[in-house]
Symmetry: C2
Subunit: 139 residues, 2 copies
């Protein structure tokens, strides 16, 4: 999980402006240690900065995703979640009850990938992996 400062730095380093709206969305993302819908993020962003529009939330989430500072979360009931993310190759582990999200790394899929590649003839380039379960508090 990144800090606000780091995320802001990454934004500006990538040549994007650090605006009020973007700051508010970043704070909203970090406020919650789970994943949230754009609408929920918008609500929290407004508590930091009441003028933020929903449109900017969408645009900022897209931007942060492209910079890998946020990640899209896929759930069974619609796919409208985002969670803050660290740089590098990470995946999320989600609590199905309270929505808490933690990151983990070190998914070693190479044996699987090699096998699937040779079985199918595909060239595998990326993968989507999410784990779902119960967090310690919800158990």
């Amino acid at each position: 999980m990144s800090t606000e400062h780091e995320m802001v730095r990454q934004l500006s380093q990538a040549g994007y402006r650090v605006t009020r709206a973007r700051r508010a969305v970043i704070r909203a993302l970090l406020d919650d240690d789970g994943y949230s819908t754009p609408a929920q993020i918008h609500a929290r962003a407004r508590s930091h900065d009441p003028g933020v529009g929903l449109v900017s939330v969408y645009r900022t989430l897209d931007l942060l995703s492209s910079l890998r500072l946020a990640r899209r979360i896929h759930t069974e009931d619609g796919c409208h979640g985002y969670a803050s993310a660290s740089r590098g190759h990470r995946h999320h582990l989600l609590c199905r009850r309270c929505g808490a999200a933690v990151e983990f790394e070190g998914c070693d899929l190479s044996p699987l990938l090699r096998r699937v590649e040779s079985e199918t003839g595909y060239a595998v380039e990326e993968h989507l992996l999410e784990l779902v379960g119960l967090c310690p508090a919800c158990r």
Copy 2:
């Protein structure tokens, strides 16, 4: 990949009626060896049975997903795809260029799961895994 006959049998075995609309959706799913949006599936379903409504496509896809005869496909640009699926624990490998989808099985994640569980305290119950790459034809 299941055949139409198998899918129909599963449907009826589970206590659901085998209707024209459901048959058309099943055929539409099997027509294409990739994943498709509800709208695309609707278009193909209509070629089998012009009277099928989009609503029935949505309802049938939900039903088939719950029976594990179809699976929701998650893509970066929206998450609105479905592909036919075999019963049992399988995952999909998708071609990012043409959308072809093949299933594979035997994802051995247990070492990873055990590690993540002990690191996080979560009880992992399920996982979402999708591979994306280029199919033989698109390479």
